[in-house]
């Protein structure tokens, strides 16, 4: 047998893994490079330029869609995180009680249904409400986003809570702290990294959504992803590359933050 026999070695696995990582990143890198293309075609390289970033910045449709995305994303992220925190407090650190399994299933339900089905369901439901109330604002999108963000926000918060024992809270109660005070001064500070992680996840998930938004939105309510989908279907210019690059940068920044917040163990 070979002298340096490694028990962890499997033939070809490293090569496949290397291919995977290259294949995962290559298209994204090409996309980013062409965002800085001076030519107006996405196949010829015409030298370095920022003109497509500038043109995206001056495109009112892009700016509108971006602002709408942020608006929906932040409202949905805040609400879904608050609701998910409450739900996580209600479903962890307890002996099983009637309805606990139901709650788990209900909270994770949006993850189990293909987005297209949820999209269609909301299209039908909201079109009824629109006729009934006459309201056709952004509220429908916010509601839909809040709902499908809850299971994502719930994940890190629940994980964090499960690693917190009740000792400190019991000690606080022994010292005559009211339940609210205990929550405010003990539970919340300890849980905070989980809540932050949940908030960021929810925001990214909302920002990324295409399918449900596409079905729920009324005319003139494009978010950045649905606007981009429309443009890509019509034919592509490097402007889409520029928008994608900016979007990517934002996602990477949030994910990096999330990674550090959720990895921190204290």
């Amino acid at each position: 047998m070979a002298k340096n026999f490694s028990i962890k070695h499997q033939p070809g696995f490293t090569a496949i893994a290397a291919t995977c990582f290259i294949v995962l990143y290559l298209p994204i890198i090409v996309l980013v490079i062409y965002a800085f293309n001076a030519a107006s075609s996405t196949s010829e390289w015409g030298g370095f330029s920022l003109r497509w970033f500038q043109s995206a910045w001056q495109n009112t449709q892009v700016v509108d869609a971006t602002l709408r995305s942020f608006q929906i994303g932040s409202i949905a992220a805040v609400f879904s995180t608050i609701f998910a925190t409450m739900a996580a407090l209600a479903t962890t650190r307890t002996a099983p009680y009637p309805g606990l399994t139901f709650k788990y299933a209900a909270i994770n339900q949006p993850l189990m249904v293909p987005e297209i089905v949820t999209g269609v369901a909301l299209l039908i439901f909201f079109s009824r409400i629109k006729i009934f109330t006459g309201y056709s604002g952004i509220g429908y999108l916010v509601a839909a986003h809040t709902a499908f963000c809850i299971p994502f926000a719930y994940l890190p918060i629940r994980a964090r809570l499960e690693n917190m024992d009740l000792t400190l809270e019991r000690a606080a109660a022994d010292l005559y702290a009211t339940p609210w005070k205990t929550f405010r001064r003990i539970t919340l500070p300890l849980l905070w990294p989980g809540i932050l992680a949940g908030l960021m996840l929810a925001f990214v998930i909302s920002l990324d959504d295409v399918v449900i938004t596409e079905f729920v939105k009324s005319g003139g309510q494009d978010t950045l992803p649905t606007y981009m989908l429309g443009q890509i279907r019509r034919g592509i210019t490097p402007e889409i590359n520029a928008i994608s690059t900016a979007f990517l940068l934002l996602s990477v920044a949030i994910v990096t933050l999330f990674f550090f917040v959720s990895r921190k163990r204290d």
Binding site: Q10, Y25, P27, T91, G99, L123, A144, M228, L229
Partner: protein, 306 residues
């Protein structure tokens, strides 16, 4: 006077009640804007289509018949709706192939990551996580730029003289397949990695001590131990692949429809909301069957997997 037991019971009841109140907002929002509307879809699938979209409140099983059968407009005979069957089969086939392809690539990748040193593992995990949280539309768009006729693959092959005309990949089933495998790969790697990370390599060593070959160790020791991760990954890839909307719309062009495009059509130009609803429920049923298979399988292997 209440006994101690009664007091404890009352406290417990209060605790359960508080816990219901705490979870009420989340449950309410999910019921109103996710679960509840699914029931409406079920109702709509049994109604009559309205002339300008929406429905007439009149019971009709036509939508469900139309999922797989076609009614001849002259003599009312039923025949198999070839177009629908083709789209169903194509969607299932593409989703299955995507799942297999991501498994074939993702399993070795997860193994590679799990066998790195503790410190570098986090870095590899981070590298897989970034595409995972990057907008799916952007990643699909990135694939589009690579595989189209003027894209990097065709340009290089042309310049090298290997081909004389660009290979048409875009707007074919192959394009959808490449796109789905690309966007869903992290969904396969992450759960397999989670199982793989806990793998006890002393068992692998024991296998080699007993003269097992590398392949035997892989098949008889490693694979059975990470099977829950493999099943979880397959489910996580299969469900979104079956309902994929963005990837086939961008890479498949108008002709190569998948189920989601067919459903969308019924709510747009098709103006047949009941048929669209019935198709949506049909997708749900396929997903349910896959999930049930997963639950039974996970139960059988005796390992709980989150």
């Amino acid at each position: 006077m209440a006994t101690a037991e009664e007091v404890a019971k009352a406290a417990e009841r209060r605790d359960v009640r508080d816990r219901w109140l705490l979870s009420a907002p989340a449950l309410l929002v999910i019921f109103l804007a996710a679960t509840g509307p699914l029931l409406i879809v079920l109702v709509y699938s049994f109604l009559t289509p309205g002339s300008y979209g929406d429905v007439k409140w009149q019971f009709s099983p036509e939508a469900w018949i139309a999922v797989f059968l076609e009614r001849d407009i002259f003599d009312d005979t039923l025949s198999v709706a070839a177009a629908h069957v083709t789209i169903f089969l194509r969607s299932i086939k593409l989703s299955v192939v995507t799942t297999i392809a991501t498994l074939a690539l993702g399993f070795p990748t997860a193994y590679f990551m799990a066998t790195r040193s503790e410190k570098t593992r986090d870095l590899w995990l981070f590298l897989i996580t970034i595409p995972f949280w990057t907008n799916l539309l952007i990643r699909t768009f990135a694939v589009l730029q690579i595989i189209r006729n003027e894209g990097i693959i065709n340009t290089i092959l042309l310049k090298l003289g290997i081909i004389s005309a660009p290979i048409q990949i875009l707007y074919t089933d192959t394009a959808i397949l490449i796109g789905m495998a690309y966007v869903y790969l992290p969904l396969m790697v992450l759960p397999i990695y989670a199982s793989m990370e806990k793998l006890d390599f002393r068992l692998v060593e024991a296998g080699y001590d007993l003269y097992a070959t590398r392949f035997q160790v892989l098949r008889r020791i490693i694979f059975p131990m990470v099977k829950p991760g493999v099943i979880a990954g397959s489910i996580l890839v299969f469900i979104p692949a079956l309902g994929a909307y963005v990837t086939p719309s961008v890479l498949g062009g108008g002709k190569n429809m998948m189920l989601s495009n067919l459903i969308e059509l019924q709510f747009g130009q098709g103006r047949n909301w009941p048929l669209g609803s019935a198709l949506s429920i049909a997708v749900m049923i396929i997903v349910m069957v896959a999930l049930l298979a997963y639950v039974r399988n996970a139960g059988k292997s005796g390992v709980r997997h989150g």
